[in-house]
């Protein structure tokens, strides 16, 4: 009896692993491609066993613009999300504690920014950027990405600040603490998980963002997702070794972040509206 149960459990776990691997298979195929030669990628029948080579990565980092694009991606995502988190945390505190008139309307408008198709948002912004000559500048790109990250950050952080009892604020006030002290010394440490979650998931969104970068960016501010659509052709065909190795490098940060911050995945993928652990 017990043994049969053990078998069933093993079979069940194997089944779950197989499902997970099926979903991962297309990505695994690309990662394998990154370690093949061009002939190896194009071989018919496909090679499942092969001698791995690191040539593609050497070639990748020797290309003239790749490091700059990668730097752009890193700079734009971290700077914009950094700004967004600071700004959003202050607002989240105000929304949670003072509930000024129009709070729910503002929260609603913020959420709806994220629900609108990105093209519809980018049309007017692109007109404005043309007029102000902010296109293809780091300032312009970082600011639009910060705007893009703020709604989600406010939502997620308001949820976390709501979770901290008002008693803490009152105790600190009675003991003569300034609001500044309350916000940064009393509340901030308690919502640290929220800050981490907001940071990680906004970073992933900006990291993967394509359309804003395609339309508002240019030569100076090209990010990797855009370079996927423009730089990958060579000799009339798609340069598959470049694509595979670039994609492999570019996927590492998001995959590591969901590996290490898995418990924030739910709150992160639902814009902070559904909380809980999976």
């Amino acid at each position: 009896m017990n043994r049969a149960r053990g078998w069933r459990k093993t079979a069940y776990h194997v089944l779950l692993w197989v499902i997970a691997l099926i979903f991962f298979a297309p990505i695994l195929w690309i990662i394998m491609g990154a370690f093949k030669t061009t002939d190896g990628i194009l071989a018919v029948p496909p090679q499942f066993v092969f001698v791995p080579t690191l040539d593609n990565f050497v070639d990748l980092f020797n290309r003239p613009n790749v490091l700059r694009y990668l730097g752009n991606s890193i700079l734009m995502s971290s700077a914009s999300v950094g700004i967004a988190i600071v700004v959003a945390f202050l607002a989240a505190y105000a929304f949670s504690r003072f509930k000024p008139r129009g709070t729910s309307f503002l929260m609603f408008m913020l959420l709806s920014i994220r629900m609108v198709p990105a093209v519809a948002v980018v049309i007017p912004v692109s007109l404005m950027y043309s007029a102000l000559q902010w296109k293809d500048t780091y300032f312009g790109m970082i600011m639009i990405y910060a705007m893009f990250s703020i709604p989600f950050s406010v939502w997620i952080l308001k949820g976390f600040v709501d979770g901290v009892s008002q008693r803490y604020d009152e105790t600190a006030l009675i003991n003569g603490g300034s609001r500044w002290h309350i916000i940064f010394r009393v509340i901030l440490p308690q919502v640290a998980p929220g800050l981490v979650a907001a940071f990680i998931f906004n970073l992933i969104f900006v990291w993967n963002e394509f359309l804003f970068s395609l339309i508002l960016g240019g030569r100076d501010t090209t990010s990797i997702p855009v370079s996927f659509s423009t730089d990958l052709y060579s000799d009339g065909g798609v340069d598959w070794t470049f694509t595979a190795s670039m994609a492999t490098v570019y996927m590492i940060p998001p995959i590591l972040s969901i590996l290490f911050f898995q418990k924030y995945l739910l709150v992160g993928m639902t814009f902070g509206t559904v909380r809980g652990e999976v």
Binding site: L111, V116, V121, L127, Y250, M251
Partner: protein, 329 residues
């Protein structure tokens, strides 16, 4: 906690001792500025408001204005007031209606299949708490949804490739048949939709797991003791607890699926069977440079999104009310 006993006499004396340099005085005043109960909320919200106004409200108002004009960047002096002609044009435009109906099919089948598959797999993963390597397995499972959509489009272009793609090799060696997916306009739509389903089924698995996690253990145990059938367990216990989270997930997916652009753009198919509404809008705005018309279409999509958002928030409210009731009883 350095200022905890500020009001005690000892502390007052101490406060007078450090020299009141101008900088220190300024910092203290600055700190106290935040204590004004009327000023503080305004100060805290101001940065978000500035962002919101400069990068959203002003451009949107501008766009609303332009939607009443003929404005084509490529043609000089094309600016002319049209009234609501752009809107009536859109309503009469056949390509737009085709794009819209295509988008509905995309959303309906995409979200539908993701939801069904996600719920089934979510159920399967429910009892996986003791699984060896669970964290790694879940990371692999959830990776598709955090991969750059443009890159995902490229992966599948390699897989679907007719001469050396792995899919074609597979069908040829097992069924002796060559498949043209992206090159054939009739199936290209479904081939791209398949990628979308692959990317977002994990999201519905995540949502299902969240919904299941919100079911109280005691009720499930009671159901087991009462030997309730699985059908009844789902109907009387799981759905009442998890339905709102499921609805939120489906709605979020619907909204997101409605906006799909990157993936389809990168899988770039000849013909027009994959021209979803977002793709059409991008083309009219940034290739045909027909700004007036595009603005009008963007406004329509904006209003749709706002409507979706209100439904979303309505369900979110129901969810928190249901939770509050649960705690109260």
């Amino acid at each position: 906690m350095a200022q905890a006993d500020l009001s005690s006499p000892a502390r007052l004396q101490q406060a007078a001792v450090p020299a009141m340099t101008p900088l220190r005085r300024f910092l203290m005043r600055f700190n106290r500025l935040f204590d004004d109960a009327r000023l503080l909320p305004v100060l805290l919200i101001a940065p978000v408001l500035i962002f919101f106004i400069v990068w959203n409200v002003i451009p949107t108002l501008w766009m609303i204005g332009l939607s009443f004009y003929r404005y084509q960047i490529s043609i000089p002096d094309s600016l002319a007031f049209l009234g609501i002609d752009n809107y009536t044009d859109i309503i009469r435009d056949r390509a737009m209606w085709q794009g819209l109906s295509r988008t509905f099919i995309w959303v309906f089948f995409g979200v539908g299949i993701q939801t069904l598959l996600g719920m089934v797999l979510g159920f399967l993963f429910w009892g996986s708490k003791s699984m060896p390597g669970r964290r790694l397995a879940l990371t692999l499972l959830f990776t598709p949804m955090i991969v750059t959509p443009v890159a995902a489009g490229l992966f599948f272009r390699l897989i679907y490739e007719p001469t050396f793609g792995i899919l074609n090799w597979f069908t040829q060696s097992f069924f002796g048949q060559e498949v043209l997916l992206l090159q054939n306009p009739e199936v290209a739509f479904w081939a791209v939709l398949f990628v979308d389903i692959w990317m977002w089924t994990p999201f519905m698995i995540l949502i299902t797991l969240a919904a299941l996690a919100s079911v109280p253990k005691a009720e499930m145990e009671a159901a087991e003791i009462d030997r309730l059938s699985w059908f009844d367990r789902i109907r009387y216990i799981i759905l009442p607890h998890g339905k709102y989270i499921l609805m939120l997930g489906i709605l979020l997916r619907t909204i997101d699926s409605f906006k799909t652009l990157d993936l389809v753009y990168l899988m770039a198919v000849p013909g027009s069977t994959t021209k979803l509404i977002a793709i059409l809008l991008r083309e009219s705005a940034f290739e045909a440079l027909n700004v007036g018309w595009s603005s009008a279409l963007a406004i329509i999509l904006l209003l749709t999104a706002i409507a979706f958002t209100s439904i979303y928030l309505y369900i979110l409210n129901l969810n928190s009310k249901a939770k509050a009731k649960e705690v109260a009883t």
